[in-house]
Every structure is written in C-alpha cells, then in structure tokens.
C-alpha cells in the first residue's frame, strides 16, 4: 500500500503511465461526447414544456457537473498537498484550475442562453447561479494566487489552503435548488431516484457527461505532463525521456 502511494507521487511513474492512457482517454471521450451531442441535438424528442431550447442541456449539465467535480478533485489533491507534501498533488491542482475555470464559464454561459427563451431573462441573482459565479471566481483566485507567489513551495501551500476554504461552496451549489427554490430547476440525475426524463433524453445526457469526463482526464494528463516537464527539466529522467523522444 505505502509503496503504491509513493509510486503514485513519483512524477516519472506518472509520466509513463499517463502517456499510455492518454490516447484512449481522448478517443473514448470524443466518441462518447459526439454520440451524446448528436443524439441529443437531432434524435431526442422535443420537451413538451420548453420546446427545443432544452437541447442545451446536453452541454449545460456536463459542463456544470464537471465544473463542480473538478473542484472536488482539486480539493482532495489540495488536502494531499498539505498533509503529505506530495508533489504530484500540487501539480494536479495547478494543471486543472484553468480547465475548471473554462468549464464553469461554459456552464454559466450555456445556462444564460438557455434562460433567455425559457425564463425570459439571461441572468437572475438566484442562489444556484450566484454560487456558480462564486465557483468561477474561486478558480480565478486559485490561478491568480499561484501566479502571484514565486516560491514553488509557498505557492503550493497557499493555493491548497484557498482551494480547501472554497470547498464550502460546493454543497451550497448542490443544495441551492432545494433550499431556495427559485427559477433554476432541480437536478435531473439523482443517485437515489430514477431520472425524471425518458430514456431517449437521459441516455444521451449520460453519454455526453461521460465523454466530457474522459476529455477532462486527457486534458489533465497533458497539462500535468507539461507542468512536470517544466519543473523537473534538470533531472536525469526528463533528459533521457526528451533525448530519446519518449515524450
């Protein structure tokens, strides 16, 4: 167990294993996402209440789900950074924060465009929307804080603390639609209940969520490798990998 844990923290080991998984993550992600999107756009039945505008759900839910999921992963990595000082955990936080920022922006943007024909407004200071906006600022804050501190170790610690403090926002996002039931509709998927949509709607939605998850995995690998290469360029293994063309 401990040996595995140590291996997991080794940038060299991660580099080798991620290079092997990356093509599969990308191919699987693109295929699943495209299948979900094409099915959702052209073949899923129309919503009886919202008409065709509901087809935005096939990218809105995946991006919103990933925006929160990435933050939870980042927070777990931040905890590992603080407790075990594992280098790779810090690399993960720095590599995925910009991805989280883009995903949160996409969730807010698609939500606003969906809101116009459905609610009659682009934006409202509803609890769900506001807490998502705060999530976007948290991602921005993480990136800014990391850039503001030159020393690698102090930056890692400061960023980890910020990420962990911000985790309080995640349950607020999740339960906002139940605590303050305003305009935003409640969740489509719940672990404990059957989905509130017919299968022709929720299967493509699930496909695009899974697809985006895999694409995120690929993005995380590419960006973590970039960060590892720039940090470890003075080590012998990076030199070997680069000169033998194994990167």
């Amino acid at each position: 167990m401990w040996q595995f844990f140590h291996k997991l923290g080794s940038p060299k080991w991660f580099f080798g294993i991620s290079t092997r998984f990356m093509p599969w993550l990308l191919a699987g992600g693109v295929i699943l996402l495209m299948a979900g999107v094409v099915w959702g756009l052209a073949f899923a039945p129309e919503d009886y209440l919202q008409g065709n505008s509901y087809r935005i759900i096939f990218i809105h839910v995946p991006t919103a789900f990933m925006a929160q999921s990435v933050y939870i992963m980042m927070a777990s990595a931040a905890l590992v950074t603080l407790v075990w000082r594992m280098k790779l955990a810090d690399v993960f936080v720095k590599a995925v924060a910009p991805v989280g920022l883009v995903l949160t922006f996409l969730a807010l943007f698609t939500g606003a465009v969906w809101g116009k024909p459905t609610w009659g407004t682009w934006w409202i200071w509803d609890a769900r929307l506001t807490s998502m906006l705060i999530l976007m600022f948290l991602y921005g804050g993480v990136i800014a804080l990391d850039r503001a501190i030159n020393d690698e170790k102090s930056a890692a610690r400061a960023v980890a603390v910020l990420v962990l403090v911000g985790v309080v926002n995640i349950p607020i996002i999740k339960y906002s639609v139940e605590w303050w039931n305003t305009l935003h509709q409640p969740a489509t998927f719940k672990l404990t209940e059957k989905p509130s949509m017919p299968a022709e709607m929720w299967v493509p939605l699930l496909l695009s969520v899974l697809g985006l998850y895999l694409i995120f995995g690929w993005l995380a690998c590419v960006r973590m490798q970039t960060e590892i290469l720039s940090r470890e360029q003075r080590t012998r293994w990076v030199r070997e990998f680069v000169m033998k063309g194994r990167v």
Partner: protein, 79 residues
C-alpha cells in the same frame, strides 16, 4: 430524427440561435483549450531539448584536444 427537414433542424422552432450559439461557444472553447494544452506541452519539450543540446555542445568544446600553442605556465629550471 426528431425533425422533419434539415431546415427545421437548423431553426429548432425559433430556438435555433440559442441552441447553436451554446454549442458553438462550447466547441470553440473546448478546442482552444485542448490545442493550447498540447501546444504548451510541445513548447516545453522543445525548450528542454534545445537546453540539453546546448549543454552537450558546451561539454564537447571542453573535451576537445587543447590547442598546440598554450599559455600554460611551464616550469623551467633556473640553473
């Protein structure tokens, strides 16, 4: 198909602009992020390689045979 014709698919009963704007922004941003990530990875690999080659050249110069004329101090007996 949920639509009767291609033009109905594009129009989406008036919701077309909203739906297509969302999908366009989504795909453009995702692609930009993916291409950008691959590019910066390539850039760091390239800069590493150049750095190593530069180091290798320097060590080659240091290892090359000394020139025939040298300014090294030679100990000559004063007797």
């Amino acid at each position: 198909m949920a639509f009767d014709s291609f033009s109905a698919f594009i129009a989406m009963e008036g919701h077309g602009p909203y739906v297509w704007a969302c999908y366009a922004v989504f795909f453009v941003l995702m692609l930009l992020m993916m291409i950008g990530s691959v590019r910066s990875r390539k850039a760091i690999v390239e800069s590493c390689r150049r750095g190593y080659e530069f180091q290798a050249d320097k060590s080659k110069v240091a290892a090359s045979p000394p020139p025939s004329a040298s300014f090294a101090r030679v100990n000559v007996s004063q007797d």
